[in-house]
Symmetry: D2
């Protein structure tokens, strides 16, 4: 596929995505997030062959939000190992919204998976025992191939002032003996990680590293343990798009992770990383234009994991 | 019924209750509570005719725990009025355990009733805007006809250090806009109220005041608003014995409220207050010997609200 | 209170009830029920002193629906005894809608109480082993002091053709070993009982018999076992008004049972039976005008169980 | 990898699987299923290169049970199209047990996916409007490359006599307007499909056809629509191993579907079909030895979808 073909496909993808942004809305539960322009859309592709394609708002920074759960899980696997990480949580899709407390209280003694808030706060509890937040920023920069990543102070403050539900989840986890670290420190780590400022290109970078099995695309040096990469990609496949993960897997078939800041991280195995920005969300919290763009790219470029 | 008859009935009641204490256990989730002697049993009756009957451990002090929800509700009704109190919670039995978060998160936007923890913390949120804890101690002393009520510091500390689940409930309430006061202050008021130190006689005193429509049994002076008394007694009837309230109503038929400290407050309309102590609990958190004693008293003395 | 006073109170009650009927609607899930005129309202009082007061549509017949659960429970207690009846179900308010399957499947192995559909179908399973439907009609006539009670064929057919949810409940009960009788026969008994045709006067009759401890108000002959009467009245108090029972107990304080046909049966202990007709329902399935009428009567005539 | 290498790997796989069969049990809720010998284990591999490898009990027949959901979904997609099939159900993992009614009644108006019973009965409802059961047997034979498939009459009878919970699900679906076909006919189709008699080789055959994009491995003729194949494989990946699908995806990473008869169907994209027999089940209903065998094969042969 030639460069011009890909350019045209990206152009068309943004055009298709644009048709749907009006139906969604920016996240409103955190005041800072609601200030985004819901018409913005951008897509960046980075290939294992080191080609880069961009279209639309790919340099505009926004907060990573739930996509940070991928980085946190990767680092936790690296530092604590698979067995410890999954001693206190499962790796099952939950069928519930990402911020639900119900299953945790009702039918399970463990968070369903590391991609829902309860699981990610559990993961943060592991992290605070192992690394500093500065270490985590360094990890994020390295894995995203983006030295420009910093914490967005305004979003951090805004989230910190509106985190009652996550604090409730954290204390419930403590009451069940799941979260053994200090609750407020763990929650702070969780919120800081959500407040990292990325753009579509950073997400494409992270996607490329994952597509490349955890190795740097140029140097080939290992940035992440191979088994951790496999775990992370599989969990993105089954749990990455909130309670829309199953339908997304059918329609798009690319392991992805979305955040309510409007980002989507997508990993085309052994081939490319895709980063998306589009802050207009559907009712499940996924970028509405971003999903359409990925569906179009998957169809046109044959990226579905079960494409013929 | 003569004094000697009642003495004999109480003696028999304690004997029947004693047969069941081995099947239960003292509350274990708070270390201080687990130190109680589960064989202790006591019952005190105070009649509107100013007679007093006691048997067993009626002067031993223990913490009031959930029975404080009755006092807190009464004071909240007094200070804020029925409409405000029930603007943020309902008055329905929940069918769930007292410390469940599920219904609150799943099917309802309000705590089911003021007798479950979510409702009582909501009530504490009203109280901290109106009164000090010292005021609440004064109310408790007045309503229980017992000047000896103080806060048990050890239990308070122990509860404060083991309140993750209640803290989770409180923050969930805040996230839903139900708890509008400061969360930590409301939670502290809630825990302090649970830590009030009473005995079976204090509970009989409170029962007598409620049986007497809120008026002092000797002076006749009004201690509580008549409508508040009615509301409190009705909610005790439908929700007072945790998720065993329905069966207790059938078997005993006396509006009652239990606490995991082992106390039961019972109100025989226009006739008497009954206070019970028996820290051996069944799996729902109700005094196992206390329930048997009340069932026996109800049967023998014809105290069921639908007794012929 | 003189006859003229009571007449005036009833007149005012109907007038108050009428103000609310527009806000509700007739039951729509069964075509036949939706044909009722939602403006109809009637109230009948029968006293233990054998006085009778009526106002409005008290002779218009409608189907008894869930109020039949009271009769079925009474007969089951009579024929099988308390222990057997409650070996397969509990007597706790459920906090859920009357036709919910959730609790039954999720947190409990038994129906919560005999007033929700799952419990009433369980009760019907006991009945079909003991009595014929003709026997049940005879019981209904006797307990309601109304020889005119028959089964409404049209409603029966209509319900039979729209009972998928109840059939689902019945088979779920069978799968759990709760319903041991033939499922279709038990379901048919349940539906037939719901289709009995009564009026406000029949319900007042039933209320009077219950208020009178199960004895015929004139002859004094026992129509129902005393203990069964007590059980029935208590369960009406805690569970009779669907998931609005708790608030109704606070506001009205009279053991009652409603049906989606628009009827309410109310029992003022040792004093009177009240029968209500008003087919305009609130969202919980209770007669909207009927509840307002009862609240007014309770307030004006001091009928609340905890009235001073 | 040479033939002898694969033989050795299969031998080792069966040996590893055998170590775990004692920890599980045959399905007991249907008497016929409990008669299986839980020590049996077999594995068959069929490659796109037309090689065949077998080890252990690969010719012993057992009932297909939930693996039939794959065939039924494929045929429904073929006959009704994607849009119609998913107008009445979703494609999300549920986080609940396969036979749960809770989510269906509580939080969703549609079955979560076609791999849980509620979804499969919905699918059966589509099928009875389009095809006969004989047609379905013909489809099963064609897709499994096995002319020996018949319905096991004994298991069919046994299931038919023990299907109260599935009947409850079916009537609940009818009550919600999801199942529009005749309930008993749909349920019968569902049970008949579960009673199809296959062996590990039939499942390997079905796996091969799916791995081959729906085309016959020898003739290349299309047996199933390409898009239907993609949908089926994706849903197997996210929902195929009951509420253990997420962990299985992480550990094994091969789209699979299990049945309580002890079978597992596994599809290695563009490479091979694997059929497993091992009737000793874990508590989620998946073959306990079969899962270990697949985990070993995935690890040793590099079959994980995200293997390096």
């Amino acid at each position: 596929m030639g460069d011009q073909d890909i350019k045209k496909i990206l152009e068309k993808a943004v055009s298709i995505g644009s048709e749907h942004v009006e139906q969604g809305n920016c996240a409103s539960y955190i005041p800072e997030l609601s200030k985004a322009d819901k018409h913005n859309l951008g897509v960046c592709i980075l290939t294992t062959g080191l080609d880069k394609y961009t279209m639309g708002h790919t340099r505009e920074r926004f907060t990573i939000q739930s996509i940070s759960k991928v980085i946190s899980l990767a680092v936790a696997l690296q530092h604590c190992g698979f067995d410890k990480v999954f001693s206190k949580m499962n790796m099952e899709p939950s069928g519930d919204a990402f911020n639900s407390l119900v299953k945790l209280d009702l039918t399970s003694d463990k968070p369903f998976n590391p991609m829902i808030n309860a699981g990610a706060i559990t993961t943060a509890g592991y992290l605070v025992q192992e690394v500093s937040f500065d270490d985590m920023v360094a990890y994020a920069r390295k894995l995203c191939l983006d030295d420009g990543i910093v914490m967005d102070e305004k979003v951090y403050e805004s989230e910190k002032n509106n985190c009652s539900r996550n604090r409730a989840i954290a204390y419930l986890l403590q009451s069940k003996g799941i979260l053994e670290s200090n609750v407020e420190e763990s929650l702070d780590m969780y919120i800081r990680m959500c407040s990292l400022s990325v753009n579509a290109e950073s997400l494409a970078g992270l996607g490329l590293v994952l597509a490349n099995g955890g190795r740097h695309p140029e140097s080939g040096s290992r940035l992440m343990d191979a088994h951790a990469v496999r775990v992370v990609k599989t969990i993105m496949m089954t749990c990455g798009m909130y309670d829309g993960s199953g339908e997304f897997a059918v329609r798009v078939g690319i392991p992805s992770k979305s955040g309510v800041g409007g980002g989507i991280l997508a990993v085309v195995e052994k081939s490319m990383g895709i980063g998306i920005y589009g802050p207009s969300l559907d009712e499940k919290g996924n970028s509405i234009g971003g999903q359409r763009m990925l569906e179009y790219l998957s169809e046109t470029m044959g990226l579905h994991m079960f494409a013929e």
